[in-house]
């Protein structure tokens, strides 16, 4: 009788293709020699190798964390390739040197890199497996003092800057995956915005995993000097393989006095098929430090892909009057798992944080919000507002909320609101009765649910994110 809400099939993953290029990979497995080899391939200074080896030695003593609200097969860290690069050249001086196949790949992903087709007003760093293949608008940005380049290049060209800040927000022994990343990271983006400069364009990195057996360990470091501002976006896709690939990134943000960093992510790694075969393990450590007075760091994430998403973009609110924000949409369908949220650590006086989390769960998926709001003894007048909303589609999925609140100063004000709702048949019928198709009706309801997060995204990303959610849920109701 009732058609009801039930789970049908999913539209195919649009970015699941593999680019047919020759790849240079190093043998599988991890030991000190692997690390020396990666460091050598990157032509790194000695201190960098030392950093890696120190991290590796810590990692050896660490245990894989088990506290996530999910299970996954044990990862064999000796069965992963830690470095994969297009064979043609390990380092590109100009676009002409990049394999046309790779350029075509990015174009197919909607990220044209050639001069004629470049996205206006967005500078892009394109990372393909373990290397950055192109960075647009690099010279133009350099003129106003903004450094935007692959981190591997920054290590050679701006060693003092990198050395001063790398590992200063996420220490090498912070956690198991951060230690692993510190040992083997291959590439990622480096951003430096000098004092008083408002970066005139959005900076953006696009991560693409292409090789089946490789992990991607990227490293991003963003430094905003006094009174500066930068908006940075990242996007991610990967081919469709029936094996799981590990993506263990580390992102560190540093905001000094009156500086602001706005960091947005639209994550669409391959999620595995509807039975949960294949897909990316997205185990990432992202953390920002508001070191300066009245500094601000804002994380916005739209997580739609990956077999498992496990990350907590956090802010350490050290500077007096600093502000931390976290806006998140996490969508899980089929057998996908997300255990995500944030940590807001209030250290300085008059610090403020806002958390808005929207979890959408369909199929048999499991969606967890986990968050920590910690107010330390010296954080007079700290304020936090947290809102966690879960939306369920169908009756086989799960949503969980684990808010942790630790307050050690009685002048703090911490608010927490949480709701759980379902897309009801009555809502769908109402919209359909007005001539809107069922698919569009679901999309409309979801976009309404995510509105507070989407309005934090840059325009193009917001449009992209809306479309993405529509596609991901296509056929989930019927």
């Amino acid at each position: 009788m009732a058609k009801g809400i039930e789970i049908l099939t999913k539209r195919e993953y649009k970015y699941g293709f593999v680019t047919p290029i020759e790849t240079e990979t190093i043998p599988k497995g991890l030991n000190e020699d692997t690390i020396r080899l990666i460091s050598k391939k990157k032509d790194e200074p000695e201190w960098m190798l030392e950093f890696r080896l120190k991290a590796y030695r810590h990692w050896l003593k660490m245990k894989e964390p088990k506290w996530g609200n999910f299970k996954y097969p044990k990862i064999d860290f000796q069965d992963i390739t830690y470095y994969a690069a297009p064979k043609s050249k390990p380092k590109y001086n100009s676009l002409e040197e990049v394999d046309p196949e790779i350029l075509r790949t990015f174009e197919k992903l909607g990220i044209p890199l050639s001069e004629q087709k470049m996205l206006a007003n967005v500078a892009v760093d394109a990372v393909f497996d373990s290397v950055s293949v192109a960075t647009t608008f690099k010279e133009k940005l350099k003129k106003i003092g903004v450094i935007f380049m692959p981190i591997s290049e920054a290590i050679r060209e701006y060693p003092e800057l990198v050395r001063q800040y790398l590992g200063s927000v996420v220490p090498i022994n912070d956690n198991f995956y951060a230690a692993l990343n510190s040992a083997v990271f291959s590439d990622g983006s480096f951003v430096y915005v000098p004092k008083g400069v408002r970066c005139p364009m959005e900076l953006s990195t696009y991560f693409r995993i292409n090789t089946q057996e490789s992990g991607q360990f990227e490293r991003t470091l963003i430094i905003a000097e006094e009174g500066s501002y930068v908006a940075y976006n990242e996007g991610c896709t990967a081919p469709q393989f029936d094996t799981n690939q590990l993506h263990a990134a580390v992102v560190e943000l540093i905001a000094l006095d009156n500086a602001e960093i706005k960091y947005s992510t639209v994550q669409n790694w391959y999620a595995g098929d509807e039975n949960g075969v294949g897909g990316i393990y997205n185990f990432v450590t992202k953390r920002g430090a508001c070191r300066g007075k009245n500094s601000k760091i804002s994380w916005t994430q739209v997580e739609t892909g990956s077999a498992i998403t496990w990350k907590y973009p956090s802010v350490i609110l050290q500077g007096e009057g600093s502000i931390g924000e976290f806006y998140s949409v996490a969508l899980t369908n089929h057998a996908q798992i997300a255990d995500t949220g944030t940590k807001m650590i209030h250290i300085g006086k008059n610090t403020k944080s806002t958390i808005v989390s929207k979890g959408i769960s369909a199929g048999r998926a499991n969606n967890t919000y986990r968050g920590l709001v910690k107010v330390l003894p010296k954080a007079e007048n700290a304020r936090n507002y947290t809102q966690c909303d879960s939306l369920l589609i169908g009756d086989k999925c799960k949503a969980n909320t684990f808010p942790y609140i630790e307050v050690m100063n009685n002048t703090a004000k911490v608010e927490h609101e949480a709701t759980t709702s379902r897309i009801s048949e009555e809502q769908l019928f109402y919209l359909q009765q007005r001539g809107i198709s069922q698919e569009d009706a679901v999309s409309l309801i979801i976009n309404g649910f995510c509105k507070e997060v989407f309005r934090e995204l840059p325009m193009e990303y917001a449009v992209e994110a809306q479309k993405l959610l529509g596609l991901k849920l296509e056929g989930t109701v019927g």
Partner: protein, 252 residues
């Protein structure tokens, strides 16, 4: 003939509620369907609109000569069937104007007419909103969220005004309205009626019919139309009650 219902049997969860209903509606007509609680009035409205939980077990419904029962709810809507809900649904985070534009453009697309961009649509919306005395503030708010009962019903009529249906089914639109809101809603409906559309008014009370004059009145009891007449029938019903009609019609 715009709508032709023949020997309709329908229900929900395996329970038959409508038990052999016949009704013909022509363009330009207003039909009032009255009946006690549980007589099947709202079920009829939902079956016409295609609610997925209601099942038709026998009979047929022709809409403009086509088999209505084969059409999805959204298809029916685009073909010109509109139902004003007794309990309009809230859609958090979706603005009224965004929702209305989407609905409007879906219909325009279907008719092969030009869709309107937000600025053009806003003009249309402002014009139509006057009909039910709604301010632009309403249009920015989320669909029905935090609306009072009267505001929700006015919003339904506004949607009717935007979508210009051929067949509008008003399901107890008068319920829960105070006298001022009732007048606004009724005036809106009266302005929307013309020789090209038809309206089915579903109501429990005769009160609404003082404001919207029906051409025909049908009394529904236990899933069947037991008596049809003109608006005088409604007045008689008001005076004598449903029991009298039921007893009386049993002899016919």
């Amino acid at each position: 003939m715009l709508l032709e219902i023949r020997n309709l049997h329908a229900g929900i969860d395996g329970r038959e509620i409508i038990k052999g209903l016949n009704l013909s509606v022509e363009k330009g007509q207003i039909h009032a369907i009255m009946g006690p609680n549980g007589s099947g009035k709202s079920t009829l409205a939902k079956v016409l609109a295609g609610h997925p939980n209601y099942e038709v077990t026998e009979g047929e419904i022709l809409y403009e000569g086509k088999n209505l029962l084969e059409m999805e709810p959204d298809e029916r809507a685009r073909e010109g069937i509109f139902m004003a809900f007794q309990y309009p649904v809230e859609i958090p985070g979706v603005s009224n104007s965004q929702f209305l534009r989407l609905a409007y453009n879906e219909k325009m697309k279907h008719l092969g007419r030009e869709e309107l961009d937000p600025i053009e649509f806003n003009e249309l919306l402002k014009e139509k909103a006057k009909l039910v005395q709604m301010t632009s503030d309403f249009l920015k708010r989320s669909v029905n969220e935090g609306f009072s009962g009267g505001e929700k019903k006015r919003n339904e009529i506004l949607q009717m005004a935007i979508l210009e249906p051929k067949l509008a089914i008003l399901d107890e639109t008068d319920s829960g309205l105070d006298i001022d809101a009732l007048r606004i809603v009724a005036e809106g409906v009266n302005k929307l009626r013309n020789s090209e559309n038809a309206i089915i008014l579903i109501t429990h009370y005769q009160r609404l019919l003082n404001y919207i004059q029906p051409d025909f009145v049908h009394i529904l009891a236990d899933g069947k139309i037991i008596k049809s007449g003109t608006k005088e029938l409604a007045i008689e019903l008001e005076e004598k009650g449903y029991d009298w009609i039921k007893a009386n019609s049993a002899h016919c």
